[in-house]
Symmetry: C2
Subunit: 110 residues, 2 copies
């Protein structure tokens, strides 16, 4: 089982591609083989493998070879690095809006 440490630059880069997002969407329903992952995608198997490598390198996806079949799955916490970054920005932003709201309420009361 290959498992890389999530790297925020590379995770954002990897998810900027619609094919790779489609692969992550598919994998969020559960682990599947590379060939089943490739089925609905209108690209060559070689291209699927390349996209898979990008997702594996940045820690979003993990793959495991059992006999002749390579199975892919979402790596636990692989998307967390991006999720945490986004929610930290939102919470700072929302606290700022709350303070602005308090200020405006104060002005109305004055």
């Amino acid at each position: 089982m290959t498992r890389k440490k999530p790297d925020i630059d590379r995770v954002f880069h990897a998810l900027g591609d619609p094919t790779r997002r489609a692969m992550v969407e598919k994998l969020s329903h559960g682990p599947i083989s590379v060939s089943r992952l490739a089925e609905p995608l209108d690209i060559t198997l070689a291209a699927v493998v390349q996209h898979l490598q990008v997702l594996e390198e940045c820690g979003v996806v993990q793959t495991e070879k059992l006999g002749r079949v390579r199975t892919c799955s979402l790596a636990p916490g692989g998307l967390a690095v991006v999720e945490r970054w986004i929610s930290a920005r939102r919470s700072i932003w929302e606290r700022r809006l709350d303070r602005l709201g308090d200020l405006l309420a104060g002005e109305v009361e004055d």
Copy 2:
């Protein structure tokens, strides 16, 4: 005031760069001028303007020129497109884990 529609491919791409993420982090504390945004960044003003354009094009940042000063701010909902995508993946994934948990609990009871 320039305001672009958020585009998920381009938002992910834009946030894959550490300088652009640092700019978004700074702007989450409130609107500031381009020169103040550039201050802590160890790059030329021209490079800052280029990064700003990328963030503006994908709808994460908006800028407004008042007199001779251009002020930048986070565009409302600019990060939401990415946040929604991530949380949709997580909720599908968590439902799957819940079902697995139920299945395992059922097996223990049997």
